[in-house]
């Protein structure tokens, strides 16, 4: 993109790229921390993100993503370490909780834990059995956006000047907790339970302080809506519409995964996206959240403080800032009247269009042509001066974005010492203590705010 003049766009259409941090009360309007200060914690808060791979060389993420502990389960069954220095083909002595009891009572997971522990022992191959990790940054947009919302650091990069030479280029972007360390744990999206069990076991082994799962898990039985309770004759509907025969023993593994997620959540909060299709009660595994575990189901509010059009209305633990979606159905009519293709014909006068917000959440994106935002020039080589920074950021949203903000919020509570109890239930209690009612007064959502009351820039 080129040829922009600064007066071309009315200022009212502009908004602060960090509005979500201001809304969460983490930064003030001048982007100074509200009631906390940056420090260099001796033991940084560890946020395990179970998602896609990320782009760890992004200038705002380069200090955020833990290159020693990030692990990819996409291609190698017991994981390959994707971000170790060039030429390092063995892992060192990893700081893991080797004696964890997290899989007690889960026989198959215990077997997997034993295999994983063995595979992670000092001197083991970085790439398990020589299998490459599947982590090209080009296909890491989701993980890169999530990582940025959690823990991006403001940075000074180098820009290539048009006439030659370089100059400093500030990249004033920050995640909620720019002190945390992100351990990126990536899996593939085959609906098979084993690699997710391994991912949650690994989250416990590394001693995660917060686990973030900004995605659905496609458990064939637990996918919402669940079909097994619907019977046709003496057969369940789930069984009748199943397209492939069940894998021997897999049902037990799926059940163990559900139990393992709950067990992991007792030791630290597990933050889950509640779903982007207004699923009542949330998607799996966000819908495992109860008062008695540390699973936190996260819904979304827009920049007007209204529930985002795509977000579940009920059954979420908390909500956090995100983008919005248009709705035109029996539940609500909320359309973007400023959209170029908006057509007022047939839109009832009595509508909720005023609740719609065009604001997106901005996050870090894969640099270059790949990712959610593209580029007209090839990707800058790692470490080389930046030719354009537009592709380094993108609009983001969904309950993915909201869940990442909540994970960062919990991490900030830990990094600053504001939160003392670290168990999942304690962390959830602390988070709820920070919450304010937002949205529809008849069906309010709880949104955390670090300091003061939440403010909404599009209201």
């Amino acid at each position: 993109m080129d040829g922009y003049t600064e007066t071309a766009v009315p200022a009212a259409l502009h908004y602060d790229a960090l509005w979500h941090l201001v809304t969460l009360g983490v930064l003030d309007a001048d982007h100074a921390p509200r009631g906390w200060a940056l420090s260099k914690p001796e033991k940084p808060t560890k946020v395990v993100v179970i998602d896609t791979s990320a782009a760890p060389d992004h200038p705002n993420l380069v200090d955020a993503i833990d290159r020693d502990l990030s692990l990819d389960f996409f291609s190698a069954r017991l994981g390959s370490f994707p971000y170790l220095p060039e030429g390092q083909d063995q892992i060192g002595a990893l700081p893991l909780d080797w004696t964890t009891t997290i899989a007690d009572g889960l026989p198959r997971s215990s077997g997997l834990l034993a295999e994983l522990v063995d595979r992670l022992s000092s001197g083991s191959a970085a790439h398990h059995l020589g299998v490459q990790p599947c982590v090209s940054p080009m296909f890491s947009a989701h993980g890169t956006n999530i990582a940025g919302l959690v823990g991006a650091r403001p940075a000074i990069a180098q820009q290539a000047l048009p006439g030659g030479g370089t100059a400093d280029l500030p990249l004033p972007y920050s995640g909620v907790d720019p002190m945390c360390r992100i351990i990126q744990v990536s899996t593939n999206f085959d609906p098979a339970p084993e690699s997710l069990i391994l991912a949650f076991l690994y989250a416990d082994l590394v001693g995660a302080d917060v686990v973030l799962l900004p995605r659905v898990i496609a458990d064939p039985v637990r996918t919402v809506p669940e079909l097994d309770d619907i019977k046709i004759g003496d057969r369940s509907l789930g069984d009748m519409v199943r397209q492939v025969a069940p894998v021997e023993g897999e049902a037990d593994l799926w059940s163990e995964l559900a139990a393992l997620i709950v067990a992991v959540s007792h030791r630290r909060p597990v933050v889950c996206a509640a779903g982007n299709a207004a699923e009542d009660g949330g998607i799996y595994p966000a819908n495992l959240a109860t008062d008695h575990n540390g699973i936190i189901s996260v819904g979304a509010v827009n920049a007007k403080g209204q529930r985002s059009g795509f977000a579940p209305a009920r059954g979420v633990t908390v909500a956090a800032p995100s983008n919005d979606a248009e709705i035109f159905d029996a539940t609500e009519i909320r359309l973007d009247e400023s959209a170029p293709d908006y057509d007022p014909i047939g839109v009832p006068v009595d509508n909720d269009n005023a609740k719609y917000s065009r604001f997106d959440v901005i996050s870090t994106d894969v640099p270059g042509p790949a990712g959610y935002s593209g580029s007209s020039v090839p990707t800058d080589p790692v470490g080389a001066p930046i030719r354009e920074f537009g592709s380094y950021f993108s609009r983001f949203g969904g309950t993915s974005a909201a869940s990442a903000l909540v994970a960062g919020f919990l991490s900030l509570g830990m990094s600053t010492g504001a939160m003392t109890g670290r168990s999942g239930v304690e962390a959830k209690g602390w988070l709820l203590g920070k919450c304010h009612a937002v949205g529809d007064p008849d069906a309010p959502l709880s949104m955390p705010c670090w300091d003061g009351k939440p403010t909404f820039p599009d209201a």
């Binding site: 766009v9 602060d16 982007n276 299709a277």
Partner: protein
């Protein structure tokens, strides 16, 4: 400089065309700690909207705004119409009578998921002996085809009912356009976009789900024919045929029951308009029977 000094001294602003660094762009940044006007030639760059945000992150966002493929009358068999441009002109002249009819909005996503479970049940029963006849009907009715309407009238293979057939084609052509406008307005995702476990028998048509055009068009034929020949013994049967055609789309997994109901409601409300637009053809059809 500290991390927060970078935030304090600089700011990204989101604009409709991209991301702007420090509001104004004039000179390259010499000292980022103090340069409030920094950014240089790089200050505004692409912040593209994600092409697939709908599917991947935010399913409801673009409301499935696929456009209609041109699938009008070019496939019509012998006896079909040329493009009915005169009638379209009449129809458009009456636009304020049919563009914003009070069709109730579709169910929300939770309601659609509940209806999709009913479609999964239909899918499970599709091969049962009681329902297996539907397969052949579904494939036959996928395109523009009149036998479903002509057979109840007993004129399927008779040559003397050209005006009746032409009327039906005309109704199908005009209602197709009307239905597409309502589909575009509500932007409802097809059932298997909401419930991926569904396996439709047919590919999803390239437009949105609500209302069902098969339902709308079929019931429009039934309503209009019952104006032409209310005394015909098959007048009532035409509605049964229309409902069978509409419901077959549910059995095929490409429409919700609410789409079918909306198609019916729209057909009933549009009938007075079609009666004006198609008056000539209705009289011609009537003449074949009286």
């Amino acid at each position: 400089m500290g991390l927060h000094d970078i935030l304090a001294a600089n700011r990204f602003t989101v604009t409709p065309t991209g991301l702007l660094l420090n509001e104004t762009s004039a000179q390259p940044v010499a000292d980022p700690a103090t340069a409030a006007g920094g950014g240089g030639a790089l200050s505004v760059l692409a912040l593209n909207r994600n092409r697939n945000r709908n599917r991947n992150r935010n399913r409801n966002r673009n409301r499935n705004r696929n456009r209609n493929r041109n699938r009008m009358l070019d496939a019509a068999p012998d006896g079909g119409l040329q493009e009915p441009w005169r009638e379209r002109q009449k129809l458009h002249a009456l636009a304020d009578q049919w563009m914003a009819l009070p069709l109730p909005p579709p169910p929300g996503l939770d309601g659609l998921r509940r209806e999709a479970v009913d479609l999964l049940i239909k899918q499970a029963l599709r091969r049962s002996p009681a329902e297996s006849q539907r397969h052949e009907e579904i494939y036959r009715e996928a395109g523009l085809e009149l036998s479903g309407y002509l057979r109840p009238l007993g004129i399927e293979e008779l040559g003397d009912y050209g005006a009746t057939e032409s009327l039906f084609y005309l109704i199908l052509a005009l209602t197709d356009e009307i239905g597409l406008r309502y589909k575009d307005r509500f932007g409802v995702l097809r059932p298997n976009q909401v419930e991926p476990r569904l396996r439709p028998l047919l590919p999803n048509p390239a437009h949105q789900s609500y209302p069902s055009n098969h339902s709308f068009q079929s019931f429009s034929v039934a309503f209009l024919f019952s104006r032409v020949l209310p005394e015909h013994p098959a007048s009532a049967e035409m509605f049964v045929a229309a409902r069978r055609i509409a419901e077959n789309r549910e059995w095929a997994g490409v429409h919700y029951a609410s789409d079918t109901a909306a198609g019916y409601a729209l057909a009933r409300m549009v009938a007075p308009v079609l009666e004006q637009v198609c008056a000539e053809q209705m009289l011609a059809a009537q003449a074949e029977w009286l």
